[in-house]
Amino acid sequence: MPILAAICRQHMHLSWRSGQTVLAVSFLFIAITLLPFGLGPELKLLRALAPGLLWVVLAISLLTSLERLFQADYEDGSLDRLLLVPLAFEAVVLAKLLGHYLALVLPLIASVPLAGLLLNIEAARLPALVAAMLCGSPALVLAGGIGAALAVSVRRGGLLTVLIAMPFYVPVLIFGAAAARVSLETGLETGVAIGPYLGILAALSAASLLLAPFAIAAALRSALR
């Protein structure tokens, strides 16, 4: 376990120190700020679209942060070292993804409520939105991880990663935005309304947690051959 913890901590450390976190969060705010310029300033429209827009922007900010997930290690040789760690390579991959999740995804989700205010979202909707994002974001990171691993040996693989991961994002976005939207109609106090949505999101995340590491490990091994 200490080895996995070290790998996770080092990835977090590197993301933090190389400013990845700050970049991702500022990307989120940039995208949210640009939207009203495109959609127009009336608050009623922005309020209606806010949950969906926040989910889409979160997904895209996440995707852009995934390109260097494995490529940096692939290029400087530390991926070879990770392959030789006396543990299952899938576990090593999961430790790295966890590091990425803690260092990048949590700060993004933490800044969603503030960004939501820019879109005049009702405060009552925020808990449901954040809950849905917490349930669904593991699936986003794992699916993006598959894209990043497949495109690791490609010079400017960023766009390829986005294209490969995009179809996997569709289900998460559908149920994520729905959870946030429905939460207001029935009010959060009942809480029962968004239960099933969170359930589906958690199921998607659990399924990808089970499948993605094997695909990612296979893709990375193949790239190292």
Binding site: P167, A178, S222, R225
Partner: protein
């Protein structure tokens, strides 16, 4: 050095046998495809106008088979990739790579004809109907697969990466279908979408099945042509690497 060359050529042996087989099969398959297509079009030409949609129902005979082929294409890629990975059969990768653009073109065709079919009814070119949306996402899956092949320059590594994506992507197709269908019902009151076909009357069903068969054989014919091209290209790359000494 000879022993290594032998197990390399073993790698390519069955493609050589395949090329012989493909050359024999090539023209008959194309003849069958053209024949079926001609017969299908003939049958479609004199199908009575549908009482509901009038003439535009004729678009169905192209739209529906194309949609069938877009799904068939991705399953073809999946099974070809699985045989390539599990049975170490390099032809699987060749088949998967050859079929991808064919499937993508059929998917694009399904989208365009679907929009052409919907336009007279809904007055807009694109409607986020459950089926059309799933086909659109499937197009992105195809584009991602093709882009991955193009992006990785080393052929063997590209083949392995593409087969992993094909398998993972295949698992995702039903999930996308389910969530898009659910998402579609959430927004639209459960009106029977115009694309949903009521139980088809016999004289609509047979032309549709014939056109479906024609598109299937067409898919296989184009894929077979592209497979021969891919095998030759791989040989050119391999021989270019070794100074082109060995004969083909």
């Amino acid at each position: 050095m000879l022993k290594a060359l032998e197990n390399i050529s073993a790698l390519y042996a069955n493609p050589t046998r395949f090329m012989g087989l493909a050359a024999k099969l090539h023209m008959p398959l194309w003849a069958l495809a053209i024949g079926l297509l001609a017969y299908g079009l003939y049958r479609v030409a004199n199908v009575p106008a549908d009482y509901q949609q009038g003439e535009t129902v004729r678009i169905m005979f192209v739209h529906v088979p194309a949609a069938w082929m877009s799904l068939f294409g991705y399953s073809f890629i999946f099974f070809a990739s699985v045989t390539a990975l599990i049975f170490r059969h390099p032809l699987g990768h060749v088949a998967a790579r050859a079929a991808a653009p064919v499937g993508a073109v059929f998917t694009l065709l399904a989208l365009i004809t679907g929009s052409l079919w919907g336009q007279p009814m809904w007055g807009t070119w694109w409607v986020w109907d459950a089926r059309l949306t799933s086909v659109l996402v499937l197009l992105f899956i195809y584009l991602g697969y093709i882009a991955l092949w193009q992006a990785i320059d080393e052929p063997i590594r590209a083949a392995r990466a593409a087969s992993i994506l094909a398998i993972v992507g295949f698992i995702n197709v039903p999930i996308v279908k389910f969530s898009v269908d659910w998402w579609n019902t959430l927004h639209q009151p459960a009106s029977v979408s115009r694309l949903a076909r009521p139980a088809l009357h016999a004289d609509f069903l047979y032309p549709l099945l014939i056109m479906g068969a024609a598109f299937l054989v067409l898919f296989l014919a184009i894929t077979l042509t592209r497979m021969q091209m891919e095998v030759l290209r791989q040989r050119l790359r391999a021989r270019a690497g070794k100074g082109g000494a060995a004969h083909v």
